[in-house]
């Protein structure tokens, strides 16, 4: 098993090093192989981790909770690596592309590698270091498009996220201080030791550490009011990076919050950490749902949807009932897959039509025989429609809310999710079902004014032939749809076992 862990840490770094030296076509292949290999390795860890914790060298530790987050990152890494083949291959005649794609692939591999490393760290200090590394790598990837918008988004992102993570570092320091009262001055901040110390930890520093950790890691996770970098970075980054940011980076930050939650509820009892998470979760969910109602850019729309789902995760964790915790962990997986699919579908449409604006992306169903319906499926999955995984996870979270007498919060959750559904479907409707080929006046006459009206005077887009930009941009989305169906209809027994062990780890402390 040590081999698997070392390979998981080493493969992405090695792939990045190779990508800097070889031509673009080889870099594509190396990245795709690396992504798929890492996902395979993560899957191979699942049976062992659902029976016992795996730890090496006192700084590496994998338990069932870590594996859930590794699965989310591993799956997205594999799918965006395949997707990128089509995404970048499109304009191969561009002379600047060789340089761009070298940087892009090296950055993508390192970014994915750092996100795979974070859940494997046993120490809160190294967890913080790994998450800070994900920040700087992803900031470079956000800036890679070299437009004014990308430069602006990257600057806002790195400044806000780094400042937030500084608060998380302060949380780490106070967590160390709390532990040193019980464990002595020299210990390595490993959270299994902190969990063991549990109720003996002094209360004031643990409280301070937990609140700072939620605020600090919450900045990276996109919790209100420190979410402001999120829509900018998601909309300006290249699509494969947006998918990783949304499905994986936010989840890895949530992973850190989960670890602090474990320590805080072992030390203080569940009340305080749950109240903090509930306040942040409800605020994020409500604000994001309202923002979803009026978005003009499809990637910003999906970014606010991510913020909404992070709010749901925080609320689910605050419910604390075992079924809600199982829902939260399943939600991490299902959201990663569904959001990856949505970004990749939107990216295919944007590539085909040449804009990210929702008003310009009309006629998706006519133009894109595969990506159009797949995007629709992804949006329905994000809105928690029944056959998909998010339906199951949100159902469990709400059921857990009612079980743990969090009735009001569960009701708010249902209302906000419904508002978000409205926002998402209005925009999707506009993109997919407004006919494109029809001339502008006909388009206005055909649809009722209001929701789907096309702005008057919009020049009719150039006539586009029906067809996909690239088959590589469809294959990972189909795989994602299959995964969503599997999570929703019949999760495999190994996964169920893993989730129930993770729930015991999470709930055992409470």
């Amino acid at each position: 098993m040590l081999v698997v862990v070392v390979l998981l840490l080493a493969i992405p770094v090695a792939a990045a090093a190779v990508c800097l030296r070889v031509p673009a076509a080889a870099a594509q292949a190396v990245t795709a192989v690396s992504g798929i290999a890492c996902f395979g390795l993560v899957i191979s860890v699942v049976p062992a981790a659902s029976r016992h914790d795996i730890s090496y060298l006192s700084y590496l530790r994998i338990d069932a909770i870590s594996v859930v987050f590794l699965l989310a990152t591993g799956f997205l890494y594999a799918s965006v690596a395949v997707y990128s083949v089509g995404y970048l291959g499109h304009d191969r005649r561009d002379p600047g592309l060789a340089r761009y794609s070298r940087r892009f692939y090296a950055g993508l591999n390192l970014f994915a590698g750092s996100m795979l490393a974070a859940p494997m760290m046993s120490s809160l200090a190294l967890l913080w270091v790994a998450i800070e590394v994900t920040t700087v790598l992803s900031a470079l990837l956000v800036a890679i498009e070299d437009t004014d918008g990308a430069a602006e988004a990257a600057w806002k992102y790195i400044l806000i996220a780094s400042a937030g993570l500084s608060l998380a570092l302060l949380a780490t320091i106070f967590a160390y201080y709390a532990g040193s009262r019980v464990l002595g001055e020299s210990y390595n901040l490993s959270f299994s030791l902190l969990l063991h110390a549990g109720g003996r930890l002094p209360h004031a520093p643990v409280r301070l550490a937990f609140a700072l950790a939620v605020l600090g890691f919450g900045t990276k996770m996109g919790l209100f009011p420190v979410h402001t970098w999120l829509p900018d970075a998601h909309s300006e980054a290249p699509t494969p990076v947006s998918a990783l940011l949304s499905g994986s980076l936010l989840a890895v930050s949530f992973y850190a919050v989960v670890r602090y939650y474990q320590v805080a509820s072992a030390a203080l009892g569940p009340r305080f950490p749950r109240d903090v998470l509930l306040v942040f979760g409800v605020a994020s969910l409500a604000i994001a749902a309202l923002y979803l109602l009026d978005q003009r850019d499809v990637k910003r729309l999906l970014a606010y949807s991510s913020m909404e789902h992070m709010g749901i995760l925080a609320i689910g964790l605050s419910f604390g009932a075992p079924i809600a915790l199982a829902g939260v962990l399943l939600h991490v997986l299902a959201h990663a897959v569904a959001k990856g699919n949505a970004f990749m579908g939107a990216g295919a449409a944007a590539r085909k039509i040449g804009t990210k604006r929702i008003s310009g992306l009309t006629g998706g169903l006519d133009l894109l025989p595969w990506s159009g319906p797949l995007f629709l499926m992804a949006v329905l999955a994000l809105s928690a429609m029944p056959p998909f995984g998010i339906f199951r996870s949100e159902f469990e979270i709400v059921a857990g809310g009612f079980a743990s007498s969090g009735d009001a919060a569960a009701a708010v959750l249902i209302v906000a999710v419904t508002v978000a559904f409205l926002g998402l479907t209005i925009a999707t409707n506009r993109m997919l079902f407004t006919p494109r080929a029809a001339a502008v006046p006909a388009g206005i006459a055909a649809v009722p004014a209001g929701t789907t009206a096309v702005p008057a005077g919009r020049p009719a887009g150039p006539a586009l032939a029906r067809g996909e930009p690239s088959a590589w941009m469809v294959v990972p989305v189909v795989a994602g749809l299959a995964a969503l169906l599997m999570l929703g209809v019949h999760p495999p027994a190994e996964l169920t076992e893993l989730l129930s062990r993770a729930v015991r780890e999470l709930g055992g402390a409470a």
Binding site: L126, V129, W155, S162, A163, S166, L169, L170, S180, Y291
Partner: protein
């Protein structure tokens, strides 16, 4: 409970009459906070970086003082490493990364960051004093006692961190914002010295290495920004909304 006992003794000693040790520790912590206030008014990128180096040097000196007074040999190594990185390498990297930018745009005005404050200097300083006082008293109320340093240093470190936030918010140029972030990290280093002096050296080294990576990326993004906006001002970063 030997740790508790020492800290009680230290607190009692501090209450009776400040020893040379706790007096000098507090003076250095105040110096760090004053350097933070100085960053509100620096008019040139070069001076801003220099002030950051001074602030970092003060923290390294404090680490040496603590190492000598409390017999913590690890802290000598930490002081050396952090001085090497934050006083020498970080300012060097920042200047190297930004010198090329200056040549491209010609005149000497490229590093001019004067007048980038959103409020007048006096109002900003008043605001920062209020924020610093809040941090100072809020942390004092928590009753966290340090095993190695007077508690006032911890309160001061949180004040430094909060003032760094005021700096990042109030100065609208990328250089001051980056330095604001780095000095925020200095404030946290100060806090770490007070309450986490025993943190294993390998973790401290990981933090410092991480800081180096962050500085390089900040430098690169400042270059990108300068290339797009032709200045260090962030006044034009308003296109992404909603």
């Amino acid at each position: 409970m030997p740790v508790m006992a020492t800290s009680v003794v230290a607190a009692a000693a501090a209450a009776a009459a400040p020893s040379v040790f706790s007096g000098s520790a507090n003076v250095i912590a105040v110096g760090v906070l004053l350097a933070e206030f100085g960053m509100f008014r620096q008019a040139l990128l070069r001076d801003q970086v220099r002030l950051y180096a001074v602030q970092s040097a003060l923290i390294s000196v404090l680490a040496v003082v603590v190492a000598a007074a409390r017999q913590l040999p690890d802290l000598y190594a930490l002081a050396g490493l952090s001085a090497g990185l934050k006083v020498v390498i970080v300012p060097l990297v920042l200047r190297r990364l930004l010198r090329g930018v200056g040549r491209d745009s010609g005149g000497p005005g490229w590093t001019d960051i004067a007048g980038s404050g959103a409020l007048s200097l006096a109002s900003t300083v008043l605001l920062a004093i209020a924020v610093a006082a809040f941090g100072f008293f809020a942390i004092a109320a928590l009753g966290i006692r340090s095993p190695v340093l007077p508690t006032a240093a911890l309160e001061m470190s949180v004040a430094v961190a909060l003032v760094a936030f005021v700096l990042m918010i109030m100065r609208r140029d990328v250089a001051s914002q980056a330095i604001g972030f780095l000095s925020l990290e200095n404030g946290i280093s100060l806090a770490a010295l007070v309450v986490a002096a025993g943190l294993p050296l390998i973790l401290e080294v990981a933090f410092l290495f991480d800081l180096l990576v962050v500085v390089v990326v900040f430098g690169l993004l400042i270059r990108v920004h300068h290339g797009k906006a032709e200045s260090l001002s962030t006044a034009d970063l308003t296109s992404l909304r909603g």
